[in-house]
């Protein structure tokens, strides 16, 4: 923590990364795997938010939807259409899993924008599990559905024979980089935005620049709202694209 404190002159102390610390909720210093931490709290809130939107919102099953039900149906239609457009009819049976990913990421992102909140999706550990889940699931699915033919994904038959081994190597590398980029993209975006907001907020302690700082925080906040949705969208659409590769490896 001391490394971040640049507080020698003017009492300016910036701790932009403190908001990402995982801390036990009920005292104690050690974080064991079962400890109830702020991670637990904010993930539980994400579950509550998802349930509120999709379960409570649709509880009246109204033909003419209420506002909340309308938003839930929009989310449903948004992800369903995305999945169907990209993977085709065969991908529709994986819709609950894709919807789970989307709803968790989007809710965690937006909950993270609340003041004093902890952003679970800003942690590489979380996004890596999400991305690895997709990567492993898709790979296993590809082999189960197509057996050895799944490897045709790397062996591009349209290319000249001489180039094929080279392309196969490139394809193989890009395939294994997928979970890395998939997870770091989300965590990096969330972390960077929140850290920048925190830095601007820290500068507000200096009277001369504080109005500018407030404006900057506001502008960054607006940008972050956009990023929160876009990153959830990107994460989901990439999941759909990877799923399509598993379902139709021939092209």
């Amino acid at each position: 923590m001391a490394t971040e404190a640049q507080g020698e002159e003017g009492g300016l102390v910036l701790h932009p990364m403190d908001q990402f610390k995982v801390e036990p909720l009920f005292g104690g210093d050690t974080v064991a795997w079962y400890t109830i931490t702020n991670v637990t709290l904010w993930m539980a809130l994400a579950v509550v938010a998802v349930a509120a939107l999709l379960v409570l919102g649709s509880s009246r099953r109204a033909i003419v939807p209420t506002r909340m039900q309308s938003v839930g149906e929009l989310a449903y239609g948004f992800v369903y259409k995305m999945l169907e457009d990209i993977t085709g009819k065969e991908g529709v049976k994986y819709f609950p899993y894709v919807m789970t990913l989307f709803m968790f990421v989007v809710m965690a992102n937006f909950l993270g924008l609340l003041p004093m909140a902890f952003t679970t999706t800003s942690h590489i550990a979380v996004t890596a599990v999400l991305a690895l889940g997709v990567f492993l699931g898709v790979t296993v699915l590809g082999f189960v559905l197509h057996g050895a033919k799944f490897l045709g994904l790397f062996w591009i038959t349209e290319a000249p024979l001489i180039l094929r081994p080279v392309l196969a190597l490139i394809e193989l590398i890009s395939y294994f980089v997928r979970p890395v980029s998939h997870s770091i993209r989300l965590a990096g975006n969330m972390m960077a935005g929140h850290a920048v907001i925190k830095v601007f907020a820290g500068f507000a302690a200096i009277a001369a620049v504080s109005p500018l700082s407030v404006v900057a925080v506001t502008a960054m906040y607006g940008l972050e709202v956009l990023v929160s949705f876009i990153q959830a969208y990107v994460f989901t659409i990439l999941t759909c694209v990877y799923l399509r590769d598993a379902l139709h490896p021939s092209h």
């Binding site: 923590m1 001391a2 490394t3 971040e4 990364m17 990402f20 610390k21 995982v22 210093d29 050690t30 974080v31 064991a32 795997w33 079962y34 400890t35 931490t37 991670v39 637990t40 993930m43 539980a44 994400a46 579950v47 998802v50 349930a51 999709l54 379960v55 649709s58 099953r61 109204a62 033909i63 939807p65 039900q69 839930g72 149906e73 449903y76 239609g77 819709f95 609950p96 899993y97 919807m99 789970t100 709803m103 968790f104 679970t120 800003s122 942690h123 590489i124 550990a125 979380v126 599990v129 999400l130 889940g133 965590a187 972390m191």
Partner: protein
Amino acid sequence: MATETQGSAGQAAEAAPTGMPQLDFATYGNQIFWLLITLVAIYFILSRIALPRIAAVLAERKGTISNDIAAAEDLKAKAGEAEEAYNKALADARVEANRIVAETKAEIKADLDVAMQEADAEIAAMSAEGEKKIAEIQANASESVKEVAKETAKDVVAAMGAKAEARTVTAAVNARLKG
């Protein structure tokens, strides 16, 4: 914070000097554990309750909308039919009305003619009677003149001292009156 971390011998806060809590591997187990629970919870909430319900609502709405559209088309066709029937009824009524008007006109004309004839006859009868009366009156008048003339003539003759003979006076008066 620093005083706290010194106390705990190790795991959680030791990674802090990197400045990135994201790279504090000691918290990974915790995060992964709770994340898996969260994902399973959301998965079950969605797949068991939310998604089937929303799918049902959307399907129901789609059905309702297509039903309503079909019903609307049905009603529209019916409205068209009704309009046609109305127009036909209107045309029929117009024809009927024209027919009735013509019929009534003819009837009235016939009645009128009969009445006119009757009136004409009555008038003719009345005028004939009137003429007869006038002729009678005229006859009476000339008779009276004759009578008066006779009386007068007789009186004049008597006054002149002669005895007038009735037959000659009458003949003279008649001759005069004719003349």
